[in-house]
């Protein structure tokens, strides 16, 4: 028996001679099932478009992207991250829509010395205390976008505000963000169960009773559609105007249509942002998929180019991790949002815009930039990050 075993082990050792890095392996964790599956699809499409645009090569190496579904659950996301690193031996792991999924997966990736790139989630912990040299963001820190919205509310003289968000890591960050800049009175806050609560009737009734000047919400993905519909049905639309972040996107706009027309939101990017990369991205995306890209897509597209900049800086030597890290820190690629730089915590320092929903020439609903709210804005947690370079 023992001899058999030894034989097996020896055969195994032969099989497992370290594979030469002849291609760049990127693991991409997102949500492909459940109601949030549309977001995952949008991100996957954007990555695929990015690969088209770079000819599916980085520094002469083939690029392989392995998509995994986190099923909207932190534990599943963590398992998939583990699989991508240990089984698929990915050089980069990217994606992550949800803050709680990213937080659960974080340690697995950065401990394994794999580059982890968030294409969406930006929980405060990772921008502050838990920042890591192996972690980069191509999106934003969660608090920033609602901070911009807080400024907008101030500018518009909104005196009292009702705040609603789902009760998870990002929801809490969003609330903290708007509280940080908004100067009026916050009459009440409701944190709803996530992701299983889709019926907001009880909360909307409270909003009506509280009679605030405005309602601020953060309901990403499907929750945004449901929220908007129920807000419409509740008859609040005429009395309590709605300001939102990450709630209206290009995926639910075709469903919401004129219900969302004129709706205001803040964001670091918009489809009409006039940069060379963005023109290429938006037109390419519309051509290939027949719809407007979402901000999720924009961030995922940028992820491909960030990785490309790293691989090319080291001429495809994927073992040179320090070289790749130094390259990524320069943010030396054409981003759809225009030039930006990285803060010490590897989160972008960038502009935030006010956008509103309009109809384009063909009758499709999309968003347009109204004004720039914050310029070269850095998140507030960067100072808690011990990393410097």
């Amino acid at each position: 028996m023992f001899r058999k075993l030894m034989g097996l082990a020896a055969a195994g050792a032969l099989l497992a001679s370290p594979a030469a890095a002849d291609k760049v392996k990127i693991g991409f964790v997102t949500t492909l099932t459940t109601g949030a599956g549309v977001i995952g699809r949008d991100m996957r499409d954007a990555v695929d478009l990015g690969l088209d645009h770079i000819g599916r090569k980085m520094a002469g190496l083939d690029v392989e992207v392995i998509y995994e579904d986190d099923g909207f659950k932190p534990e599943t996301g963590k398992q998939k991250t583990e699989k991508l690193i240990q089984k698929d031996k990915a050089h980069f792991v990217a994606g992550y829509i949800w803050s709680h999924v990213l937080l659960a997966s974080y340690k697995t990736a950065v401990d394994a010395d794999t580059f982890l790139i968030s294409s969406n989630a930006g929980p405060s912990q990772l921008a502050g205390k838990l920042c890591d040299e192996n972690f980069f963001s191509t999106s934003w820190q969660n608090d920033q976008t609602p901070m911009a919205m807080g400024e907008v509310l101030n500018q518009r003289g909104v005196g009292s505000l009702y705040v609603m968000a789902p009760n998870y890591a990002a929801g809490k960050n969003m609330v903290a963000g708007v509280e940080r800049t908004y100067k009026g009175e916050i009459v009440a806050k409701d944190l709803t169960r996530f992701p299983d609560q889709l019926d907001f009737s009880a909360e909307l009734a409270k909003v009506r009773a509280a009679k605030p000047d405005a309602l601020f919400v953060f309901y990403p993905g499907k929750h945004g559609t449901q929220f908007f519909k129920q807000y419409q049905q509740s008859g609040l639309k005429g009395t309590v105007p709605l300001y939102s972040v990450f709630t209206v996107d290009s995926m639910n706009l075709p469903l919401l249509k004129d219900q969302a027309e004129g709706s205001l939101m803040t964001q670091f990017w918009a489809p009409d942002l006039d940069t060379p990369a963005n023109r290429r991205f938006v037109s390419g995306y519309r051509e290939k998929y027949g719809r407007y890209p979402s901000f999720y897509a924009a961030q995922s597209y940028d992820t491909v180019f960030l990785i490309k900049s790293a691989v090319e800086a080291v001429n495809g030597d994927l073992g040179d991790r320090d070289g790749m890290r130094a390259a990524m820190r320069k943010a030396d690629f054409e981003s759809v949002r225009g030039p930006f730089r990285y803060g010490n915590n590897h989160f972008p320092i960038q502009n935030f815009y006010l956008r509103h929903v309009v109809k384009d020439a063909d009758g499709n609903f999309t968003t347009e930039i109204v004004s720039t709210v914050l310029e070269n804005h850095q998140d507030t947690y960067a100072k808690d990050c011990k990393m410097s370079w």
Partner: protein, 322 residues
């Protein structure tokens, strides 16, 4: 001499589990080591459920809650050890007894109320308590609430049993699995086990001859909770992550499925059930994204045709052979 099919399969699976680490090491596939580690931990939890479900006919639909309690003992300990620098809170020799104490206390209270009910009402009242504990986890703002808690430090069992080394951790869990199997075997064969099994078929008769059945059942329920709490300690260390999700009723459902699929009231059944569920999910989902459309009807067939689950099928095979 002919070895019965059941025994051969049981011995084979233990040997297979024992040789996983050298193989995965040779193949440089640590992923599969982690997978089998998870399998064994879930098997321990399923065995503890089988103790009351299989042998005592107490269908607890809140069993994952004890696993959650054990996991949170580790999670909270590690959290304070890292955040506040209280090193001794990460001590594994503290975690295990504390997890046993907490989960058996919870099981004692839950059992004391639940065991008075019968049948589906018992299922639902244990579900209710499980969900209550789940929502306690959801409400724990300090410890991450819904989002859970990442473990930045595993339980510290000293240098010899350093579970940061996955191979050592693996053999520790394997040893605990064997201990659980052995303990279950002894317990079921004992006078205590006789009463529990007897209560399954005719509780009133046992009561009539003066045996305090309620107390026996309560003890069994508590012991099962305690074992499951230990499984929770292991699972938290395995995943480096704790969340209320571990206590959700679907997890309790998974445990029940493992026991029923593997074979209720058999020693090795829960191990088979856990293995099938974990491995099928991993490999079938690798083959096709739509693996559930195959696995679902398969479960229906098992329920309809293979009475007694996998262990039952092995017995039937043996009968046909002999």
């Amino acid at each position: 001499m002919r070895i019965p099919v059941g025994t051969a399969v049981a011995a084979g699976s233990i040997v297979a589990l024992a040789i996983v680490p050298p193989i995965t090491e040779a193949l440089r596939e640590p992923f599969y080591l982690g997978l089998c580690l998870r399998l064994m931990i879930l098997a321990i939890a399923a065995i503890s459920l089988n103790l009351i479900l299989g042998f005592g006919n107490m269908v607890s639909f809140g069993h994952a809650a004890y696993m959650g309690i054990g996991a949170y003992v580790v999670g909270i300990g590690a959290f304070h050890a890292v955040e506040d620098g209280i090193d001794w809170l990460a001590n594994g020799f503290l975690h295990v007894p504390l997890a046993i104490a907490a989960s058996s206390l919870a099981a004692l209270v839950i059992g004391a109320i639940s065991i008075r009910t019968r049948g589906v009402y018992f299922i639902m009242i244990t579900l209710a308590f499980g969900q209550m504990l789940y929502f306690v986890g959801v409400g724990l703002e300090v410890y991450g609430a819904d989002d859970g808690l990442s473990l930045y430090m595993r339980s510290d069992f000293g240098d010899v049993l350093d579970i940061n080394d996955n191979t050592r951790f693996y053999y520790l869990v394997l040893a605990l699995l064997l201990a659980t199997l052995y303990g279950t075997k002894r317990l079921v064969a004992s006078r205590f086990g006789l009463v529990i099994r007897g209560a399954r078929s005719n509780e009133r008769r046992l009561a009539a001859i003066g045996i305090p059945v309620y107390r026996y059942k309560l003890v069994a329920f508590t012991v099962a909770g305690a074992i499951c709490g230990v499984a929770g300690v292991l699972l938290a260390n395995r995943t480096d992550f704790v969340s209320p999700d571990m206590m959700h009723w679907t997890r309790s459902g998974d445990l029940i499925i493992m026991v029923v699929l593997g074979g209720m009231g058999t020693l090795f059944g829960p191990l088979y059930g856990a293995a099938v569920l974990v491995l099928v999910e991993e490999f079938l989902s690798g083959v096709t994204e739509h693996w559930q459309i195959v696995f679902g009807p398969l479960l229906v067939l098992v329920a309809v045709y293979a009475r007694g689950g996998i262990a039952g099928a092995l017995r039937a095979l043996e009968r046909r052979r002999g």
